[in-house]
């Protein structure tokens, strides 16, 4: 082995070379270095590399995400500044991570970095083992920072820019991280989200975890309930079930108690989701996914309205009316108004030869399918939104348009009788059939399929072309 490189420049170049190594070679190198960590130069190098490793993506997952895992259900992902309720925005989560990463002592950081570099990211056990260390440290670090900002204005200004909202979010994060292990175990023990219902076994598990948190960190009980509520299809079902199971004392169910707190959070969350629906749709460009989200939202609203105990009636009812109006607005503006353009553009052909019209691109086809699905999903929401007539009329109109445009196209192809036109018409026929199926159902779509194939001279029992 060659002599030790000199301190400074040569170590820097070793560091730079190591940092360029692929993941599978980097990990053993890091392990080797750890064994020689008695040397000050090696320690400095390890510290430099550890900072790099904690930013690593192990199978698309950053270590920061592992720290956020226990409160990911409470993360507020929209860009809007306004933040109803005591939820956690992404920037606050990022800040929390920066503060925690900066506060970890060097040997611990190196240990965590080494463990992280060795995991694939999909191994939940290994990830949670790293997580447990991070959550414990994170909770202590953030709680200390929050406490210090309360007594030291300069520090508050310097660290959090004097933003009380951010301080509240960091306090929430610290609270959740203090019970992170319980939350993560509970997530594994309960059904995946959205949780439809909790059976006897689930309730037993839930009660056990609740009792443990009540005993160890009573102040974190609302955060635990809120986290699990957010995983429920009907968030208030959890409170109801727990109340029925006798989980709450009388003071928990008074104004200002645990139930009041969680109910308010749940309503705020629904409110925010309803108001953000159109923005969500704009960002995702997938009305089918947004419509599915809207349907779940409506279902949640209905169940919450029926099951509120502390916040029943009055102001809450008018908030729910506004939320329904927001969902209705999404359906009217983003689903119904855009349907003709989105769906109509992929069926039929403009005048002229069928083969001359460029076929719709994959993106256009996907967009049209998503729109058709959004319409079908909106139809399910129609009674709650009082839009039965509008949606049914739109679907009828589109059905007629698809049938007419397809008929016209088939007619043009049959008239020309050219193989190119017939082939192009066949492909377009299947697109129309698919749209019909998504909008109306398979029976009408199959009728169009048979009729179209007959018009093109492709007999019923003929197989599809090679």
């Amino acid at each position: 082995m060659s002599a030790h490189p000199q301190a400074g420049g040569e170590w820097d170049s070793v560091g730079a070379r190591l940092s360029r190594l692929p993941h599978d070679k980097f990990v053993p190198a890091l392990r080797l270095l750890t064994q020689a960590s008695g040397q000050p130069e090696v320690r400095a190098l390890l510290s430099q590399l550890a900072q790099q490793v904690i930013g690593y993506r192990a199978r698309r997952l950053r270590l920061a995400r592992v720290m956020c895992q226990p409160f990911e259900d409470l993360l507020y992902m929209r860009r809007r500044r306004h933040r109803p309720g005591g939820r956690i925005r992404w920037p606050a989560a990022k800040l929390a991570w920066r503060l925690v990463a900066a506060a970890i002592d060097e040997p611990t950081l190196i240990r965590i970095a080494e463990d992280w570099a060795a995991t694939t990211g999909v191994d939940r056990k290994a990830r949670n083992a790293i997580g447990r260390k991070l959550w414990r440290i994170g909770s202590d670090v953030l709680a200390a920072i929050v406490a210090k900002t309360e007594g030291d204005k300069d520090y508050f200004q310097r660290t959090l820019g004097g933003d009380a909202e951010v301080r509240g979010e960091l306090a929430d994060i610290a609270g959740i991280l203090s019970i992170a292990a319980q939350i993560e175990r509970l997530k594994l023990e309960l059904p995946g989200k959205p949780i439809d219902s909790l059976n006897e076994r689930d309730m037993k598990v839930m009660m056990h975890r609740l009792a443990t948190v009540k005993r160890d960190v009573p102040s974190a009980v609302p955060l635990l309930l809120l986290t699990i509520s957010m995983r429920m299809r009907r968030p208030n079902d959890l409170l109801q079930a727990l109340a029925e199971a006798g989980a709450f004392a009388r003071e928990d169910q008074r104004r200002g108690g645990v139930v009041d707190h969680v109910e308010k959070q749940v309503i705020d969350d629904l409110d925010r989701s309803a108001r953000d629906l159109r923005e969500t749709n704009l960002l995702s460009s997938n009305p089918a996914a947004t419509a599915a989200e809207a349907a779940v939202l409506l279902e949640k609203m209905e169940s919450v309205t029926a099951s509120l105990t502390v916040n029943r009636g009055g102001a809450t009812d008018s908030r729910f009316d506004k939320m329904r109006a927001a969902v209705r607005n999404f359906v009217v503006e983003d689903v119904l108004a855009a349907a003709d353009a989105e769906i109509g553009s992929v069926v039929g052909v403009p005048h002229g030869r069928v083969a001359d019209a460029p076929p719709p691109t994959l993106d256009r086809l996907i967009a049209a399918e998503n729109h058709a699905r959004a319409l079908r999903r909106s139809l399910r929401m129609a009674p709650s939104l009082k839009l039965e007539r509008e949606i049914a009329d739109k679907i009828d109109m589109l059905q007629a348009r698809i049938a007419d445009d397809t008929e016209e196209m088939l007619e043009a192809a049959a008239r020309s009788n050219s193989a190119l036109d017939i082939d192009a018409a066949e492909a377009r026929l299947y697109t129309a059939v698919r749209m019909m199926e998504l909008l109306i159902g398979p029976d009408q779509a199959h009728a169009l399929y048979r009729r179209g194939r007959q018009r093109l001279g492709l007999h019923d029992r003929d197989s599809l072309p090679d």
Binding site: V122, R124, K187, L188, E189, L190, P191, G192, D196, A292, L362, L365, I366, E369, R373, R376, A427, Y430, T431, V433, R434, E437, L438, G441, P442, D443, A445, H446, Y449, D460, R461, D462, S463, L464, D466
Partner: protein
């Protein structure tokens, strides 16, 4: 939905692959995991697993299938395609499914995947052909440098290949066209399995590899569930065991297949028997692995999900598990089937419960189509 004792799966295992039938990749939820086979009068019939919510198989004459379940248009087209061509072997089923999928009747993404898969098949065949030519020339100690530089795509490369193959044919005592024809046939035979030395794994070799990952992952899940006294542990152990048996048979096939292709001279000289054996091995492998791909895909989708969802996936996988036919099980020596405990009678698979409402579940169809689009 309740399940009987797991032993039932073995007691009522099919006698042969032909009796087990071929998986039909329908997208209608009620027809998920169904298989087709020929009955004793050589007529097609469909096997419907778990149709009534139990663990029996319903046998439906093929023409009656549209009356039994509400089908998507894609499935009606596939149904017709299968009937027209009397399809009842995995290779033909795959081609029929890809053909129908390219129409777009299961959505544009499924169509795109199908088109790409067909193109990949073609290019794999070409590269297998090239590799076999190189291997033959190398085996005979002929100069292959020029050919490696040119490849087979260019006219120049084709000429060089013909010239070199002419030399090789003389050594085998064959005409050049004859040798070329044999290599061409071999490359068609070899491409579904893949050539050992190829950079890209063949389709069946890849699937065998994924099955090994599935077995390990499910066995690990079972061990952990057993330690935590979870209900799903015996089901996972059973699924891992069936995967393991299938894998061991598949690995035997693959070893024999690779061994034969390593000794190409013997194969070329052993014409016409040798290619028959290779074809039999490839066919056997395709029967063995039939139905596993989408189950592996289903399990892979749950990797990041909760144990509860993984149990649901296992219950679904169990319903459609391609249990080895008895004649295949007898080929395995050593490990005998582990005694399997009963499965707790529990309602696990919620998605199944909505299937019988009369209306097609569009969300479920979308998920099936998405899985289909993700599979090659």
């Amino acid at each position: 939905m309740s399940f009987p004792h797991l032993q039932t799966f073995q007691r009522f295992a099919p006698a042969t692959f032909a009796e087990r039938g071929v998986l039909v990749p329908f997208t209608s939820p009620a027809l998920m995991g169904t298989r087709t086979r020929l009955n004793d009068r050589d007529r097609l019939e469909l096997l419907l697993p778990g149709f009534s919510g139990g663990h029996t198989h319903y046998v439906v004459p093929w023409p009656a299938v549209p009356e039994v379940a509400r089908m998507t248009v894609h499935d009606r087209a596939l149904h017709e395609e299968i009937e027209t061509n009397e399809i009842c072997v995995p290779h033909d089923m795959r081609l029929a499914a890809l053909k129908v999928a390219t129409s777009g009747l299961a959505g544009p993404e499924v169509a795109e995947t199908a088109r790409k898969t067909l193109e990949d098949d073609k290019s794999y065949r070409t590269s297998a052909h090239f590799l076999l030519v190189i291997q033959i020339l190398q085996g005979l100690g002929l100069d292959i440098r020029k050919l490696l530089e040119m490849g087979l795509e260019s006219d120049e490369g084709q000429r060089e290949a013909r010239r070199s193959m002419g030399q090789a044919a003389a050594r085998f005592g064959l005409r050049a066209e004859e040798l070329y024809g044999r290599v061409s046939e071999l490359s068609t035979l070899a491409s579904p399995v893949g050539i050992e030395s190829a950079k890209t794994f063949g389709r069946l070799r890849t699937l065998l590899d994924r099955l090994s990952g599935f077995r390990d992952s499910v066995a690990k899940w079972s061990d952990e569930a057993m330690a935590d006294k979870l209900d799903g542990a015996p089901v996972a152990a059973f699924c891992a065991d069936v995967a393991d048996r299938t894998l061991r048979l598949g690995q035997q096939d693959l070893a024999r297949f690779d061994g034969m292709l390593r000794d190409l001279e013997t194969v070329i000289c052993g014409w016409p028997q040798a290619p028959v054996e290779l074809r039999d091995l490839a066919t056997h492998l395709s029967w063995l692995l039939d139905g596993w791909e989408w189950l592996i895909q289903r399990w892979d989708e749950t990797i990041e999900l909760s144990r509860h969802e993984q149990m649901q996936a296992l219950a679904e996988i169990l319903t459609f598990l391609p249990v080895l036919p008895k004649d295949q099980d007898r080929r395995l020596v050593g490990k005998t089937p582990q005694p399997l405990g009963g499965l707790v009678h529990q309602r696990w698979v919620k998605a199944f419960e909505d299937w019988r409402t009369g209306q097609l579940d569009l969300d479920l169809i979308e998920r099936i189509e998405a899985r289909k689009a993700a599979m090659a």
